[in-house]
């Protein structure tokens, strides 16, 4: 602890100092229960991803094409404006995403927090993990599985509004003719994800599975 007056003029703030102070702030905020939303932006084979989590679980995975700023504004407005970048809370989900993109993970274990969704949409996205890794289901099949076979369009909307794509695999829901169809992360991302899963599951090019 220094009590002597500073001899030199005060230094101008530099980026490194501010980054260290910022990291310390995030840690202290988490300790004091003030980190309502922590987020990080990471690279992935389907573009940069924003991943945000509250104390109860992952709140949001947003693709670049959806607009990270828009996602943060929505979290601030509907969850809490106490939003900060960084922190250790994201480590488990980011590790699982890395493993997923490397083809070494088929299901996600981290808790998700679906407070941004209610009613039928919530029911639909919660049913998505029933479509196995490497497989696909049509919107109609998912509608039937949730007990509302006529709600095909509503299933499409629920998938489009899925706050945690990848973790809850809306990319496995495709058109009845087998073509991939639309995706919140862009149609190309959906194709990439389905190909990645087929390859990792050994379903490509007739490579048999035991």
């Amino acid at each position: 602890m220094t009590t002597a007056p500073q001899a030199a003029p005060a230094a101008e703030p530099d980026g490194r100092t501010l980054a260290l102070l910022h990291a310390d702030l995030v840690e202290r905020a988490a300790r004091d229960g003030l980190l309502d939303v922590a987020y990080r932006v990471v690279d992935s084979p389907v573009g940069s991803l924003l991943v945000a989590a509250g104390e109860r679980g992952v709140l949001r995975v947003a693709f670049d094409v959806q607009g990270h700023d828009a996602a943060l504004q929505e979290l601030a407005a509907h969850v809490s404006p106490r939003v900060l970048a960084g922190g250790r809370r994201l480590d488990p989900v980011l590790r699982e995403l890395d493993e997923y993109f490397a083809g070494r993970r088929r299901t996600f274990d981290v808790p998700v927090d679906l407070r941004l969704l209610t009613g039928f949409r919530r029911e639909v996205v919660l049913s998505l993990p029933d479509v196995p890794y490497g497989a696909t289901a049509s919107y109609a099949q998912v509608a039937a599985a949730t007990g509302r076979p006529a709600a095909v369009r509503a299933v499409g909307t629920a998938c489009a509004r899925n706050p945690v794509p990848l973790l809850l695999p809306c990319h496995r829901v495709v058109r009845s003719d087998g073509t991939p169809g639309r995706y919140a992360g862009g149609d190309a991302a959906k194709t990439t994800l389905l190909a990645l899963e087929r390859a990792a599951a050994g379903l490509d090019g007739g490579g048999g599975r035991a």
Partner: protein, 169 residues
Amino acid sequence: MTGPFEDVVRAHGPTVLRVCRAMLAGRDADDAWSETFLSALRAWPELSADANVEAWLVTIARRRCLDELRRRARHAVPVEDPALTTGAALVARADEPGARDLDLWRAVGALPAKQRRVVVLHHLGGLPYAEVAAMVGGTDAAARRAGADGVATLRRTYGAAGTDEEDAR
């Protein structure tokens, strides 16, 4: 406020650090920065949407730094002085620096240590010279001289605007 607090830290982090460094040294300035943003984070959802965020943050930072300087002064004085523990009310009679010109903080930060502390405590913190002297050491008269010299330097380095208070005391 309904916007993400992260934007606030990015936009105003450097300014708040300038304020803290103008008032405190080294590690203590860093601590004041962290405490400023931590208490701002706590209050953020309730802050009114039309508030001047920078002025609000600068006010919090200034109070934090003054609290720390007062705490120090108390520890330095063997017999507790009631005038110090009760403390003078902090009247924000200086312009909100954040709202006016951030170069002021740069210029204040560049002053020699004693002048800087006196200028900050008296002109920005609103403490009378007697209390300033008790905190920085030396006599009232020495504090007055350091304050006058500091303001003279600021007139030169920062400009002639708005620093006419030392004439009145």
